[in-house]
Symmetry: C2
Subunit: 249 residues, 2 copies
Amino acid sequence: MILNSVSVDCVIFGFDKSGLRVLLNQIDREALISSLPRQASSEQIKKLYEQHPMLTSEVYWSLFGSHVPEEQDLDEFAKELLFQATGLTNVFLQQIQAFGSMDRVPYTRVITIGFYALINPDYYNLKQSSLAKSLQWFNLNDMPSLCFDHDKIIEQALVKLRQEVMYHPVGFHLLPEKFTLTEIQSLYEVILNKKMDTRNFRKKLAKMKLLIDSGKKQQKVAHRAAKLYQFDILVYEKLKEEGLNFRIE
Amino acid sequence: MILNSVSVDCVIFGFDKSGLRVLLNQIDREALISSLPRQASSEQIKKLYEQHPMLTSEVYWSLFGSHVPEEQDLDEFAKELLFQATGLTNVFLQQIQAFGSMDRVPYTRVITIGFYALINPDYYNLKQSSLAKSLQWFNLNDMPSLCFDHDKIIEQALVKLRQEVMYHPVGFHLLPEKFTLTEIQSLYEVILNKKMDTRNFRKKLAKMKLLIDSGKKQQKVAHRAAKLYQFDILVYEKLKEEGLNFRIE
DNA sequence: GCAAAAGTGTTCGTTTTACACCCATGT
DNA sequence: ACATGGGTGTAAAACGAACACTTTTGC
């Protein structure tokens, strides 16, 4: 059985030097419909896809999401979706909120629970979901037309992400295993949308003792090679508990 | 129609010198069932109440909540519930998150969206909802047995409230229109569960310029009467936007 | 006059801010 | 040799923490 009035949508964030990106998909209607259990509750969902050309058009993109099965925890289902979209498990995943206005999906009432995920770029070679006609990263300031209220969901995801990175060390999930200090600064600058002073930023980081010098350096860069750092997982856990302050006025 | 797999539950917070309190209710099953529309979707809810003695026992208490009507915005519905419980409109109301584990309600699958509300004690003369057998304030550290996962929902509400008051001036919604500096300090102490230094606390408040001296004083207290303050609504709005910092290490 | 809470300043250590130059590497 | 980004310290201002006594009021 499927709870056809409840869905989960995932805002999957990535990061590279060009900025923050979101993974979006276009749905393969045939694949989706044939994946539904043959039950009355599926009929309504089939209908939904028939009624909404948006959902299967070549123009509109949507968050990766689906209707919640009756026999699965909400959080588990979000994890599963994330696995379908990316092939990854153990991803940082957090609930945004429920979106429940009447008019968010025309004709049918669907309440969606938004989640956001932070993806480490070491694992960008995504397994394509069979349900997706295509699956693609879009830069946050160069987004395509989106289905329904998915733009609002992304906006809220960003708000929560901002709140989170100011006081907890989670932003690091968007970085590869080894990274430079400049990368992490630019990550903060992009998320918080503020320029920061390099010297002061580094002093602050240093005081936290969160980073360990990996002993390695960037290779083949046309400038002085930067040191590569890693986290101290123990300090990370401690800061996740206690909080930190990257707030800037 | 009712979305019987989705409900809203409200954590209604109050505050007085004895601490934080939550408004809980015991359901009048007859009133509830007769309030449901005569439809198939209501049958399942009726059944729910029959199957769960918890819901109508004299021992267990529950958050004020109900199943979401298909033709109402989630936020609107939360407001309406709050009005049913308290007779108040224009209450500070914020979504907590969706609670969606399989086992939160036995036998049936219900995803609930939690909200929390902050009630100004000037308006404590509550209109009793006709759906409630009884409706009562409980001090947070003296709670009765609760239905389902309502204890977890309250816990999360507190977590969100804490996060919120540290960085936004919303805690003030728990105070009467005119209040003393000691009251607001004790509010912060209770919510954040930390003792604070009076002089430092007042300096911090003063710098924000959020408060206006109302010119009045406490009456008939067996000690020096404290000045009564009010908010500057303009500064309040500004701080709600920009944030503030009541974080203590 | 005494019990109870209100109200108020200073010092010291820490944190934040602002700011500019030399270094390493590839082409 | 030059272009590119990497890496570093200091001084001044703001902030946070610790701390004790006098005032007002009702009884």
